[in-house]
Point group: C2
Chain length 892, copies 2
């Protein structure tokens, strides 16, 4: 039996999207619903794939099935395709599984030729006929025969000029007739063929052109960019023409069943009388608000409202529809899920659940994590942004928008912000812990160097500040207090605007639109539903009580990472330096006991209170000690200068001594150096002080009735013997504090899995550690052998450009490599300790694609920065739904 | 039925070593051979373990079985243990599976007491009797009752003084009688008990003391140090006493069946007439050469020779024996495989194969890899070394010994060596590629910093130069051209001696003993046998034709790693810098074509010729480019100084520009930076030039009749797409060179597996790469997350001290972690490409324990530095034998 390539609309349905494309399937569905759709049929995507695979030859029977279908169309309409007297006109439209702007779209009025245009002119209207014919030749020339579109426009321009008119609708029938002649000559000249007079030839070439357009460069680029498979192919939809431009009782329009901008349940759209669909969007005439139809064509209006309602209830989603009114009769040309803003998406989803149209799970499937991102961060006003001057583009490091005066050092930035109340953007070559007070004071951060996981980026995300990094186009001159972009100079105090989401820097002030989580009631509802379906919990990375409180407000169910070293940054750094520089063990211990211990207790106490009832994972000191000291290069420059100038007084001596200490501590590859538990094993007193602080705070809080669940995390473990050596020491300290305080609190000791060897030997490590937290930042660095501080700047972006990497592995977890290690560790860890708590606290904890992986691999929670918590909650729900086996709605 | 704890010698045999200990099993074996062994029995190691596990209580039946055995002994001798008139005297000796100096050894003359000593004095000789008794009390006091040995010696000293004599043998019977009295008082005073008069009590306590000695501190330390299990326990051997000190027809001796120093087939040893075994080794009297027995006691001599021959043929190994002659009758007290020097080990093994005593496989099992190491490298004369003053101890980085004058910079070192012919030791804080010419000129290298895989260490091994690194005790002052060790100052030009094998630095000149591979004929035979049984081939890491030729001479069967960057070091560096600093792509290409290409062709051509018929793996450029430029810090200092002094002329400008370039190239963690294929993907022209050079050289060599097998290795691969992008480009270049040259050569393209991700995704990578070479240095760094340049200096040694790590993972492969990745990669790689060539070219390729692992995991070859090739050949044979399932001889 011959394979079926061609489906009449009445043979299809919405479920056949893969075979018929989105447009074709929805047209079929509307026919099934009894809605007025022009007669038509769809040539399947399978036909396209066969054509492409077989040297551009139609598969057997395709053409004969097409002829049969065209005949049925003719019968329904009462016209014959190819007939010169009573011609059936058709449109040919592409339509793949997903809407794809890169592909050929539409050719109208197919079937006309030099003979039948005369018949049409006689039967209908002369101007209409010649206009229709020239439209056919123009579209056909452009999309089938590859003639440059501008050349057609030039011809029309000449005709406008010769007729002394301004717009196309004013052109006379004779003018359009002249256009037809000129167009035909143009095609003869510019293409290899000519415009075919045989309508069947027109049809064959049009179908082939649609098929071929699947593989044109724009389409391939688009699919590459959006991750759509190249193996789907496109369908071809053929419809009998209906005309909205045959009089004032005709028209065309597009509409949404609800507001795509606010989500309000209002029919919303525009239409033009006496016009075809393309005229509505071309801007030549201003379309009317669709509500005017109520007065102008009440019957059509009622029918349209009814159809909109039917479609929405049927599809259970807001629809974007196209319609044409031909002499008072309404025809539906398209329906599809409508694109919408973030706010609309959330409102529509919640409303539809309340209206009983969809389930909560379906509602969750309708919200994209980008929507939440967009809702929560201030962003530049779109219209103003479009008009503004972009100075440069860097890497989007932390979302949100900020406007402020440029300052080039943290101290000035802080001063201007605090003392003068200025909005400040801190601009630096890159940042170090020394700049953190300036970052806190600034509205946004811009760095010339560094990648998305550079210090600036990590801290900005932690602070929830907009941040653009790696913006190499700005050449900062710290001495002159300015940066240059090409010829343009931006001086200290000049205003710029940055979009952290887009990684863009603009000249001057652009208004920002700022949201408030408190007021986003529908979003809160959605997130509660998300929590109901998620299996992964969402915890947060928080180092201070205020961060903890904010994260909790955003719905965090625990702290997955409290970085104790962050407590020693900023104004506390000198105190910590005092410990590092202590000359005797006694002095060292004294600084720990008298200065650092009380500081840490205070912070921990605040965090425990904020997280009352929830677990708090506190990581012991992680970075190498030299990170807390001045940079070696700075000291080297200072000392060299003093030596050259013979300024060898006490200040010199002091600097020289510090330089010696820093030199001695410096490492070739500090990322893999003396840090984490390696440091703890070398100087246990530091870790002991930290554990004491945690338990003193926990016991004090518990005495006030706070429910505390401290979990102490030992970082940079690579060998179980490290834990076996340090953990008992620390457990003993914990026990003695509880003894002293006369109260017991539940606690755990566990470790980061951030070194490949730890993952590979997780079975051994799990015999000591009571929980695992995957540090996927470092794990990615070591599994790939790339340094995050260097790689983005040096080659990662180049790799993505060249297609060597699909994603930046610091943003989206590399499932095959890094993910494989996570999977190995989960399996081995659970084998040794089946009920083990496992989570992830790397940057990937806030990335939806990565969250999906963490769900699949069986973690208990992801931990991310407070501002990412809402996104992660939704992503966790998506992961649960996507992997439940139940179908989830595909985003359009 | 009661468990058997006690074995008469006639019930045991040499195969029961685990149960009876080495000494007991060999005594039993001698009895079975019909050799004259004093009657005796062994209490099993199982009894010891039971005793230790049960609160120091003898297991049921042990005591009664002992009594039975003692009775049998008495019957054989015609004396009764515990009898005061006719006492049976016995010795009690410990003896575990392996010989262990940490354990209690021997108590003689057990069974004597105040009564029976009188009987003995009457029957035998008064002096002998009292001497025997005091020996018992002295030994018993020391080893059973824990009385400090020195206190006994003090008493003897007093007696010597009071009798006015110098040596023990001169002491009168009355003197020894007095000693007995004093010893008993001493014991009363110093221990909790007293010397037991009841012989059965003596026996019980002695057995218990032997059992307990298994767990004394020295024994535990020894087992920890040598890797012997704590679970074996020790046996107790009880023998009827025979006496070599009962007249001039008596004596004791020790002997070897062949020379333990040269291996010559000569009976070799010493003896003393009228003496007990302990007197032979105590040095109080000078023993005679054992050959004198031939004249003194010809019958005994003949018997001894016959026994030696019997034992050697029976055990098929050189034996170390102890004997006693009691009134002309020869008794055998011990036999065991004799310890021997490296030279002896090799000669004995080869001779025994030729004599038909052992198989080649057995011969291989007799040679330790340390033997080869010792034979091939010059070493400090042992006697001279023992007398010399050690200045400091660092890390042993490259074996061998060197003596020379200290110089602190490479230029001076080179000048002194070349122009003045001086023997030079290069002493540096650490080395960089800039120092290589000095290292080449020096006899040896000493660095203050750095670990065993630091630049100095790696290059020294490559060069075969003795090297000590990480010698932190020497404080180098480059300005003063001296180093200090404590108070001691060593100035430029002063002579020192270093032992690379021991990691030691000595003041002054110590004679060295230097071997020559050419003359080590027996070793060559052994290594040929090794090659016959090995499955792993041994290749070499060689960067220059001379290295290649040397390695081939040592038996290398291919080059596993030719580091092309090493060709750019030393005097070639400026040429390579010219390429890096090129301002345009054109200039860059010009430097490549005109300067670097001819250089590389010449080197490759020489290497191909040297390796005629064997494969040569050439690795494309691996290190980051900034490694070839001056250091950033040096430039920073120079520029800062010039700025401070306002010396801003052209030299300043040049330095400043270079500083900018170096700063731009610098990386936070260069080990994980822009290097290897990442560099190749960024600047393909460099790799293309290298591939061109390889194939021009290969084609030219092939035209001369040389059989070339170039294999091009792409380093630092982490993702298959890297290979997919670069490899086709390079293959094309290879093809076009062969086209130009009009000749084809067989070739392969492959990759290093040195990044965890590459190992984890080896199945994908094997679809492109035609061979794998495991770079276990970098793989260890990234799997452990430790930087080799920092870790040894900062904490690895501390970890080994604390028992966190058993070995330095850069020396011995970490099987559980790094090895797991290797195993994963082998399995996945072979699944994708079953016949894939896989080898290892990291430092571990020359380490015997690691070679065993590489054998087990199924690699095809190990590649190591030329000087390690002989060691690796033997280790590969050992691995094959050890894992063949056939038993291999245990080293004593």
């Amino acid at each position: 039996m011959a394979k079926k390539w061609v489906y009449l609309f009445e043979e299809g349905n919405a479920g056949m999207r893969d075979l018929l494309g989105g447009k074709g399937a929805n047209l079929a569905e509307m026919v099934n619903l009894g809605l007025p759709v022009p007669p038509g049929f769809t040539i399947s995507t399978e036909a396209c794939l066969s054509f492409l695979a077989n040297d551009f030859v139609f598969p057997t029977d395709l053409w004969s099935q097409t002829l049969d279908a065209i005949e049925i169309l003719g019968e329904k309409i009462g016209r014959n395709f190819g007939d010169s007297k009573n011609p059936l006109l058709i449109s040919v439209r592409s339509g793949s599984r997903f809407s794809m702007p890169g592909m050929m779209d539409t050719i109208l009025n197919l079937g006309l030729n030099d003979e039948s245009v005369i018949a049409l002119a006689t039967q209908a209207d002369e101007r209409f006929a010649w206009d229709a014919y020239r439209r056919l030749i123009q579209m056909f020339g452009k999309v089938v025969l590859d003639v440059e579109g501008l050349l057609f426009e030039e011809i029309i321009d000449k005709i406008l000029e010769s007729e002394g008119v301004k717009t196309d609708p004013e052109i006379s029938p004779a003018g359009w007739q002249r256009a037809v002649e000129e167009f035909k000559k143009l095609i003869q000249r510019e293409s290899e063929g000519s415009f075919p007079q045989d309508p069947w030839k027109q049809l064959e070439l049009a179908i082939k052109a649609v098929f071929r357009s699947w593989n044109n460069k724009r389409a391939i680029d688009y699919r590459n960019a959006t991750g759509i498979s190249h193996g789907f192919g496109t369908a071809v939809n053929i419809l009998a023409m209906v005309f909205g431009n045959v009089g004032w009782d005709s028209g065309s329009g597009v509409a949404f069943t609800r507001s795509p901008s606010t989500g309000k349940h209002d029919f919303y759209g525009e239409y033009l009388t006496n016009a075809q669909g393309e005229d509505v969007v071309s801007g030549a005439r201003t379309p009317s608000e669709v509500h005017h139809l109520k007065d102008e064509m009440p019957e059509v209006w009622n029918k349209l409202l009814h159809i909109a309602d039917t479609l929405e209830k049927h599809y259970c989603d807001m629809q974007d529809i196209e319609f044409t009114i031909e002499r008072g009769k309404l025809w539906m040309l398209q329906t599809r899920a409508g694109k919408r803003t973030a706010a609309a998406a959330v409102k529509i989803a919640v409303d539809m659940v309340n209206e009983g149209l969809i389930t909560k799970e379906e509602a969750l499937g309708r919200i994209e994590t980008d929507h939440i991102d967009h809702l929560l961060h201030p962003h530049l006003d779109e219209r103003a942004r479009a008009r503004a001057t972009m100075l440069a583009k860097g890497l989007s490091a932390s979302p949100g928008a900020a406007v402020g005066a440029v300052f080039f050092d943290a101290n000035t930035a802080e001063k201007k912000a605090k003392e003068e109340g200025m909005d400040v953007i801190l601009v630096r070559p890159d940042t170090t812990p020394d700049d953190v007070h300036g970052m806190i004071a600034a509205r946004g951060i811009l760095t010339q160097h560094g990648g998305r996981t550079s210090h600036a980026a990590v801290v900005a995300r932690q602070l929830g500040k907009p941040c653009v990094v790696g913006c190499e186009a700005i050449k900062i001159n710290l001495k002159k207090r300015q940066f240059a972009v090409g010829e343009k100079i931006v001086k200290e105090g000049d205003i710029i605007s940055i979009s952290g989401r887009r990684g863009e820097v603009y000249e001057g002030s652009i208004p920002t639109v700022a949201p408030s989580f408190e007021k986003l009631n529908e979003l809160k509802v959605i997130l509660l539903w998300a929590d109901e379906v998620s299996r992964l919990k969402v915890w947060t990375n928080a180092d201070h009580p205020t961060q903890a409180a904010r994260a909790r407000n955003y719905g965090a169910q625990g702290i997955g990472l409290c970085r104790t070293e962050h407590m020693f940054l900023g104004e506390q750094t000198p105190k910590f330096q005092k410990a590092i520089l202590a000359e005797t063990e006694k002095e060292f211990q004294q600084v720990l006991d008298e200065i650092l211990l009380p500081l840490q207790i205070e912070d921990f106490f605040g965090i425990f209170k904020a997280m009352n009832g929830l677990p708090v994972i506190i990581r012991l000191l992680d970075p190498p000690l030299h990170e807390f000291l001045p940079s070696k290069e700075e000291l080297l420059v200072a000392v060299t200068r003093m030596e050259a100038l013979n300024q060898t007084g006490p200040e010199y001596e002091q600097k020289k001594k510090l330089l010696d200490i820093v030199s001695d501590m410096s490492e070739f590859n500090p990322m893999m150096g003396l840090r984490g538990c390696r440091l703890g094993l070398t100087r246990p007193a530091l870790n002991k002080m930290q554990v004491r602080a945690i338990f003193e705070a926990a016991c004090d809080a518990a005495k006030e009735g706070v429910k505390v669940f401290p979990e102490i995390m030992i970082p940079i473990t690579s060998h179980v013997n490290e834990l076996k050596t340090i953990q008992p020491l620390l457990e003993k300290e914990a026990e003695s504090v509880m003894e002293e305080k006369g109260i017991r609190v539940p606690y755990k000791f566990g470790t980061m899995i951030e070194i490949p060897r730890a993952a590979l030997t997780a079975d051994e490590i799990a015999q000591v550690a009571q929980f695992f937290s995957f540090g996927t930042n470092d794990l990615t660095q070591m599994t790939f052998g790339i340094s995050r501080d260097d790689a983005e700047r040096k080659f990662i972006l180049d790799y993505i450009d060249k297609g060597i990497l699909q994603n930046n592995p610091f943003q989206v977890i590399d499932e095959k490599g890094v993910g494989q290690l996570v999977a190995i560790a989960v399996e081995k860890g659970r084998k040794a300790r089946p009920d083990m708590e496992m989570g992830i606290c790397g940057e990937h904890g806030g990335n939806p694609a990565s969250i999906d992986f963490f769900h699949r691999v069986g973690l208990n929670y992801v931990s991310c920065s407070p501002y990412r918590v809402p996104v992660a909650r939704l992503a966790a729900a998506h992961a649960a739904l996507r992997n439940s086996g139940k179908p989830t709605p595909q985003p359009e």
